[in-house]
Every structure is written in C-alpha cells, then in structure tokens.
Amino acid sequence: MAACAAATKRQQGHQIKGQVADVASLPYLVRMKLFEFLGLDPPRRIVEHEEAGRFIPVTQVKGSGDLKRVISDLVPLLHTESHLADPIRYVISELVRNVIEHAQSECGSFLCAQCFRDQNRVSIGVADSGVGVFQSIHRSHAVRRPGDALCLALTPGISGTTPRIGGNQANAGAGLFFVKSIAKLSHNFLVLYSGNSMYKLLKTPAGQQTMLYAEPRSDRHKLLTDLPEWRGTVVGIDISVSEDKSFAVLLDIIRKAYSLDVKKRKRDYFKGIRFT
C-alpha cells in the first residue's frame, strides 16, 4: 500500500519527503524494495541475500505483459512445489487482471508476497490506486454504501460491468469469490479494503469444517467502515495448501459452491461436456 500510494503521488507530480527511522524491520523493507518506490534512501545499507524461496519484492504491474512476466518469474522465485505454486499463480492472475480491466489505476497495481515455508503458507498483497470497488460496482448495481459494494464484489455472479446476474461474455463476476474460497478452504484470511471500508474473512478454526457461501456475510467475517480512505483497492490473502490436498481438489469443492442457487439446480450440464 505504501509503495502504491507513493508511486501514485509521484506520478501526480508530488515529491515524497521525510526521514526514515532506523526501525527493526528496515532490512526487510529494503529487501522488499519499498524504498525504490518511495524514492527515499534508507538510513543504512543492508547485506542482501538471495531472494529465492522466501519472497517476491514489491513489484509494479502495469499491464498484461508485466503480469505474464511476474507469473513466470514467481514460481522459481518462491522455489515452491506445484501444489502451492498453482494457487499462487491463480490468485495473482485473478487479482491483477481485475486491476488491469476494472480499476483504471494509472500506476497499475503493486504486488508482493512472502513465503512462510515452515507453515506451508504464502501471504500475497495486491494494491491499486484506481476507482475502487464502490465506483466499479455502482456502475451497474444499486448499491448505497462502500461496505455493501465490497460484499457484492465477493458474491459470485456480480460484476461491475453489467447489471445482469451471472455476468456477461467477458466477466462472470466470480474472480473474487474464487479467491475468497481459496483462502477459506485453506483456513486462512482474506482482506478486501477499498474506500473507507474493509471486509475481512476470518479464519475458520482448525479442525472445523469449512463451508463455502455465495453470500460473504454468511462467512465468519468483520466488515469495518469509517476507516481511513484508500482511493483504490487492496487485497491481502494467505494461502496454504497441504501436500495431500491438491489445487484440483480445492477447485472441485469451489465448483460445487459456485452456483447462483444450487437448490434450484435442474440439471448437471457439465456432464454433457465432450472431453477427449
């Protein structure tokens, strides 16, 4: 968020000024390349170690070409196995493509990731300084409050590009629902912050069954309003996929929940698909 805010201000012709305190987390912030986007010098130099296997430093993504490079670089960078690499690639693609297509963010998006190998967990953050969720959803849906817009954005079938439930030919309105489901199925957090509101998916306690809901208010969550205004959108997500549960299994579970109303499901259309 700090890199995104600084880059946006600098792009608007502002200067970032100030002194940087020599805080304990300074080496980490330097290695994450925060100061490159702030345009400030850190108060001291640090010895940089090899990045592979631990983190993706703050990276600016301005378009589709940048995204492809980031995705192809990130797997060797995180030095991770396929069962964990697949959801990481998936989540980053869905989140950054949302920015490219809907956010109108002049400086694109900023992403970073941190791998916690001992916990088999990866934390990913994506921030932009675009129009924000409320304006994006409000184009097509009668929504009054930013918090309601966040919930609609997380509901499958709701897209800011059309009032039609189920989306249109280009957008299903399901990207954030899939991302939220990936977080929930791995007993992790997701945060969606835009405008003055934040939706936080709370962890499903270990040992408790994870249930996927179309309606985000049915999940264990916090919806905070009257927060400091963020002009744009920020998503933070933790992912951990165990070796005995592949991403394909995870997607199967999501498929069963990805329906406007399964109670009314008439037929299993997917059984008519011709696979060879």
Binding site: S140, A174, F178, S218, S259, R265, T276
Partner: protein
Amino acid sequence: MKPIGIARAVGSFAEDKDVAAQIREKHVLPAILGSGTVELDFTGVDLATQSFIHALIAQPLGVGGEPALERILFKGCSRPVRGIIETVVQYVLETEDGVAEETSEQSAAPNGGSADAPPHR
C-alpha cells in the same frame, strides 16, 4: 476440424483473457454460429483461470445453449483445467436457463440477494 492449440497461444498457464477472446471470436463463435465443430486442445496447459475459460466459451454457450456442448471438443485437459471447464459450463448454462434470474435491485439488497443460499461444501 483443426485443433486449436491453447498452450501454443498462452503457455502452460491459461490466464490471458485477451487471448481467450481472440480464440473465441476467431474459432469458437464461428463454429457455433455456423454448423461446425471446434476442438480446443489443452495439451500442455497445467492450469487455467475461471476468467480465461469464461472468456473463451461463455458467449458461445450463451448463443448456442446446451446443444453447443456437442460441438466443442475439449482435448488433453489436466484435472484442474477440466474442473474449471466443468465449473464454467455448469454456471453459464444454469444462468442462461434462467434458473437463478435475479434483478439488480435484489442483488443490492442488504444480504446481497442470496442470503438464503445454502451452505455448500
């Protein structure tokens, strides 16, 4: 019927919706609008996003309905890719079928218009 090599267009991770739209417009939609058949070859594709598959086949399925499934052949799909295709097909046809028609006003209700949706695992 010449197979359309998805991996040749997008690599092992199918996520670029612009490419999906190009393939849709050039190959899938003309086949469905005419009387042809199209073979989408996913050999070499490890993973696809829901957004990519939606951009690839949602409109053709919307135009052709369930019979269009007879004329789209999915070849060489890995398990994750197959799962995503099944998900998108089910969702698009279910929506087209009017199973869960809702209005925009309903969707903007305090509970998002789907608070009565059952939990699914």
